[in-house]
């Protein structure tokens, strides 16, 4: 990844009639970067991708490609390749013709065409399928042809719109690895849209979490998981969801149901609290569950359900007032109905503002 910015969105907004799809989008993508846009359906991630591709014009703001305003250059000069969710292969042409079509229309010489295509078919393991029609290919093969069609153009920027969602669950892992190794080999700039958090974390150099037409956070997968900017991001990433408790701050301690769950005077006093109410977030794997009370901060709970996922077990602990929290453990020796104690791994506790749900320490 170089330091050159190849794609830039400046204050981009998009309205359909009176709805704001994109409220304000600022984004810089570096040459060779793999950026993943992640968000729930309807968050505006696909619209952003379509604006970058030039299929839609932004309502205000500008999109710079290689430093030039994208609206002022033709789609040929823009030199962007896009892989659609349904791959958009021409059903009436063979794999070879699909790859060749755009070159042929733009009058690339036959020898040159053949040379490029042979190389790409080779790279993508498609040589054996060159004369098949798209209807005769599996989902994974179609996706590779779609990738190939982008590569043929030797585009600088690759846009991928949920390319794995039409592939059988069992084969998705393999297809994902292929995209990754292709990126590692060719170092194209990739903007990748998905709603699947595992896909995003596996692929992205950086992830932009989008909700409501705004980028909520843009950072490395690790930072997004461990230091989310707000509660939305914290809840969106991680399965099962992060536990949230409404707590009261009192003299360097956090009280939940009038019992102390967290104590760190230094950390709490460094916060600029507007009220003494706040939200505590703790991921299920950072909830410690034990049989005996060994610490002042341990609180009693009862195990409601235990789900065994093989590699780990998920406990649902019922605490007071019908509330419950989830915990992930890897060596289960509890049974449903047990009375246990739980506490939080203090350094993993996240603190959010009660009103605007922003992380108080970011």
């Amino acid at each position: 990844m170089s330091n050159k910015v190849i794609l830039e969105l400046n204050d981009v907004t998009k309205n359909y009639k009176k709805t704001n799809i994109i409220r304000k989008m600022n984004l810089q993508v570096k040459e060779g970067e793999f950026l993943v846009m992640l968000g729930p359906s309807g968050c505006g991630k696909s619209t952003t991708l379509r604006m970058i591709a030039g299929l839609e014009a932004p309502s205000t703001g500008e999109i710079l490609i290689d430093g030039r305003n994208s609206e002022k250059i033709s789609s040929f000069e823009r030199n962007i390749a896009m892989v659609f969710q349904d791959y958009a292969l021409y059903p009436n042409m063979t794999v070879y013709q699909n790859l060749e079509y755009s070159l042929k229309v733009h009058k690339v010489k036959k020898e040159e065409r053949q040379k490029r295509l042979e190389a790409i078919l080779e790279t993508l393991n498609l040589t054996a399928y060159r004369d098949r029609l798209p209807g005769q290919l599996s989902g994974g093969q179609k996706q590779r042809v779609a990738l190939g069609r982008g590569m043929v153009k030797q585009s600088k920027i690759f846009l991928l719109d949920e390319p794995l969602s039409n592939i059988d669950v069992q084969l998705r892992e393999k297809a994902r690895d292929e995209i990754q190794s292709l990126h590692e080999k060719n170092h194209q700039t990739i903007v990748y849209v998905t709603h699947d958090q595992l896909e995003a974390m596996a692929l992205g150099d950086r992830i932009a979490i989008i909700n409501d037409g705004i980028i909520q956070m843009i950072d490395t997968p690790d930072n997004i998981y461990n230091h989310p900017t707000n509660l939305f991001v914290a809840q969106f990433i991680g399965t099962p969801k992060i536990n949230t408790l409404e707590v009261t701050c009192n003299h360097g301690e956090l009280l939940f149901n009038e019992k102390i769950v967290f104590s760190n005077t230094e950390r709490l006093e460094s916060l600029n609290l507007a009220s003494n109410q706040l939200c505590l977030g703790i991921r299920p794997e950072h909830v410690v569950v034990k049989r005996k009370r060994t610490d002042l901060l341990d609180l009693p709970a009862q195990i409601e359900t235990i789900v065994a996922y093989g590699r780990y077990q998920q406990l649902t602990l019922s605490i007071k007032d019908g509330q419950s929290i989830k915990a992930i453990i890897t060596n289960n020796d509890f049974t449903s109905g047990d009375n246990v104690y739980f506490s939080f791994a203090a350094e993993k506790v996240l603190l959010f503002d009660y009103e605007n749900k922003n992380n108080l320490e970011k």
């Binding site: 591709a53 030039g54 299929l55 033709s74 789609s75 040929f76 962007i80 390749a81 896009m82 659609f84 969710q85 349904d86 791959y87 958009a88 021409y90 059903p91 009436n92 079509y101 755009s102 229309v105 733009h106 069609r149 153009k153």
Partner: protein
Amino acid sequence: MNKFRESGWHFLLIVICLTLLLPVLFMISNSFKTLQDSYHSMLQLIPTHPTFSNYLTLDKQINLFRIVWNTFFMATIVTLGKIITGLLAAYAFKYFSFKGKKFFYFAFISTIFVPFTVVMIPNFLVISKLNLLNTALGVALPQLCDATGIMLFLKAMDKIPNSLIESVRIDDIPSYKILKDIVVPILRPNIISIGAIFFINSWNEYVWPTLILKDKNSFTLPLALQNYISSEGGTNFPLAMALSTIMIIVPLLIYLIFQRYILNSISSSGLK
């Protein structure tokens, strides 16, 4: 399912089916009867004295080849015209955005509901001023474009995913190439089946050609048939039935040849 109910359905279907097909069988049967037989036992399906003579008489009385050719030529021009204009207009409506698109579409569709009887006279005046009376072109001219075609092609274009067209646009392919290389090949079965229907409708057309074609040499088959029924043929029912049988052959052939497309793309999608 209840066995009794099922056989009830069966029976009903067979009755409906026979009712629909009976006139055709009846027609073919009578075309092979002598005038006398037809008069005495019109409703008998198998002729008592089967004869081919009606067809021979017909060929002597009118220029059968000329009339079939007229019908074919006229129907072909109309079909080609409707396909070309329909495809172009549907493409524009589907993939271009322009001001007043909805209004134009609305206006187009409205014309489907204007009775032909109403536009017949103005059209006749135009054709006669263009000196195209008694020509196949005169019959074809006002029919080269119609809203039904636009509507059907627009509907057919639904099956082309949007992403396909967007993908071609990102590649900067000119519109006419998209139409030629992508849209038309994908719509091929639809074009064939819609074209077949256009052709058959035009082949069977009666009212409008009556106005334009007055010279017997320019007649199309339905006109010749009408003439046999009303005047010259007079009471010669078997002759009329023989001409009817000839008239039905081409549509039937087209239907049989393109049956696969017609059933697939227009009608049987709901059947399993």
